[in-house]
């Protein structure tokens, strides 16, 4: 069934959109990532203009994150205190990111900038996660191997402004989470994503949060960051396509519910290996685009009235 999208001004198959939403929602529920880093390139691929894809992708991530958070909430997998601190940092970082994004747009190299940040951050995080999770899987297989402590006391525990995060079982300063939130918010605004794929490993490896609460807390934070992005895009460039979003959401919310169920059955290490492979695959795919000689050297973009 073909459907004409009023803002994107293209006609696409409705079932393709439902399917795309479903796949991204599934991954979102399973790993606790918003899925923005997948939905945006996939929408480019089916012919949706980039500006519409970025803005509508953000709207879709809001829905799948809400669906995922509600599922996590029942498993008591959301640390609201930690989420709040991360979010406060995140909104500051996002505001700076939007400003930098505008500077890059004026310089005319925003596409390249986005692609390079995708390759760099996805690649870096993918490799780090893969190494760590493969290592811990190997340790788990050797009986009697020394058990790694869930978190170690480090410089983060000597900073002021300490706070008790009950759900995470942590008593640390609020400065590291606020900085991480700001960094993720900054990257999220530049790359047009929720930032879950950076937030999840940062919470596990840098803050030492238990995996049990990481996904729910990450999703909780993503809801607000992507809601902020959606409103910004709707007001400044009118590129949110409601009909496109609705179809992606319908597929996405169902996928997210199934993903959460599947994720709960897998071991944390397996989940992390899968996520890191996925992140690496997207990174390599974008890197290939930058390195291989394109078939068509020219591209046509809408211009502005002189």
């Amino acid at each position: 069934m073909q459907l004409y999208l009023p803002i994107a001004e293209v006609s696409v198959n409705a079932f393709v959109l439902l399917g795309l939403g479903g796949i991204v929602g599934f991954l979102s529920g399973m790993f606790g990532v918003g899925g923005g880093f997948l939905i945006t390139p996939l929408l480019f691929f089916i012919g949706v203009p980039p500006a519409v894809a970025v803005a509508t992708g953000a709207n879709q991530v809001v829905a799948s994150s809400i669906s995922g958070v509600l599922a996590q909430l029942r498993r008591k997998g959301v640390d609201f205190q930690m989420g709040g601190v991360l979010l406060a940092g995140g909104l500051c970082g996002s505001a700076i990111g939007v400003w930098v994004f505008r500077l890059m747009t004026a310089a005319g190299q925003v596409d390249l900038f986005i692609q390079l940040s995708y390759v760099f951050f996805l690649g870096l995080i993918g490799v780090m996660m893969l190494r760590e999770s493969l290592g811990s899987m190997r340790r788990a297989r050797v009986p009697g191997a020394p058990v790694r402590r869930s978190h170690v006391h480090s410089w983060a525990h000597r900073l002021p402004l300490k706070m008790k995060f009950r759900a995470s079982g942590l008593y640390i300063s609020i400065i590291p989470p606020a900085i991480i939130g700001a960094l993720v918010g900054f990257l999220a605004a530049i790359m047009g994503v929720g930032g879950g794929f950076i937030m999840v490993p940062a919470m596990i490896y840098l803050l030492g949060m238990p995996t049990r609460v990481v996904i729910g807390t990450s999703l909780f934070q993503i809801i607000f960051v992507t809601a902020f992005t959606t409103i910004m895009h709707a007001v400044s460039s009118q590129t949110v396509d409601m009909l496109l979003a609705l179809l992606l959401i319908l597929g996405g919310v169902i996928g997210a519910q199934i993903g959460t169920q599947v994720g709960a059955r897998l071991k944390a290490e397996q989940l992390r290996v899968l996520l890191s492979l996925l992140v690496l695959a997207v990174s390599v795919r974008i890197a290939v685009d930058l390195l291989v000689t394109p078939v068509e050297l020219f591209s046509v973009a809408p211009g502005v009235m002189p």
């Binding site: 009118q238 291989v292 068509e296 591209s299």
Partner: protein
């Protein structure tokens, strides 16, 4: 068939061209309006007409017909990638002031055999002539290459079409052309031009308009996004929230 076309001519209220030469065009369109609805998947326009003569056909070469359909024009930027430090980045760009979002040329025969260069220049019939390239920036000296690239890219997208020999001409009098409008149509007024040619010279021409409009839900969403962007954004978020909560509740209900 001919009788049906003639009947259509009468019903559609034919428009007659100014009496400039011995031959004039009487024409009609299968529709004056194209509505973009939610299930819009392209549309077909039938352009039909007849040649009106007050005298026997004049001496000279055979009669040819060219029909053009032109969508609303917008400025575009054509960018070219180049290799910098091993990666492909946009290095050059050329601003083109005005290029139609859709352009189809339908003819009775090969263009170079029925149309002279001077007439093409005068009436801007081929797509190359239509694109106004006056505002091309100075720094990119090979701007011709960029215009060719624009033609190539838009032809691949199905936005630019040249259909030679697809106008049916019967008894040097009746003609019809089918133009398929693609699904990725831009809203606006589409201009249909009809040309009669003899010996590569235009002997009569006529212009008609087709309005392409979004209707219903499409119209409502589009207007809301333009006129009330904040409300539209909040509505999109509300939609997302309701859908997210709804799916969660539904799944809990199904498992319970």
């Amino acid at each position: 068939m001919i009788r049906r076309l003639l009947l259509l001519l009468v019903l559609a209220g034919p428009v007659m061209a100014e009496e400039t030469g011995e031959e004039t065009i009487v024409s009609g369109l299968s529709q004056n309006r194209v509505s973009i609805t939610a299930d819009f998947d392209g549309s077909e326009i039938l352009v039909y007409g007849a040649v009106r003569r007050n005298a026997p056909p004049p001496e000279g070469g055979p009669l040819s017909v060219i029909v053009t359909v032109e969508g609303p024009a917008t400025p575009v930027i054509v960018r070219r990638k180049g290799q910098v430090a091993g990666i492909w980045v946009n290095t050059d760009e050329v601003q083109i002031d005005s290029a139609p979002s859709f352009y189809a040329v339908v003819t009775t025969g090969p263009l170079d055999q029925i149309l002279s260069d001077t007439e093409n220049l005068r009436y801007a019939i081929t797509i190359e002539r239509v694109i106004r390239a006056v505002g091309i920036s100075q720094e990119a000296s090979r701007s011709g290459e960029f215009i060719l690239a624009l033609l190539r890219v838009r032809t691949q997208e199905g936005r630019f079409r040249l259909l030679e020999g697809k106008v049916e001409l019967t008894d040097d009098t009746l003609f019809r052309a089918d133009v398929v409008l693609p699904a990725n149509l831009t809203e606006g007024t589409y201009k249909v031009r009809l040309f009669l040619l003899r010996d590569k010279q235009v002997v009569a021409h006529q212009e008609r308009l087709i309005g392409v409009r979004k209707v219903g839900l499409e119209r409502f969403i589009f207007n809301l996004a333009r006129e009330q962007p904040l409300i539209y954004g909040l509505l999109s978020l509300a939609l997302a929230a309701v859908a997210g909560w709804g799916a969660s509740a539904l799944f809990r209900f199904l498992r319970a």
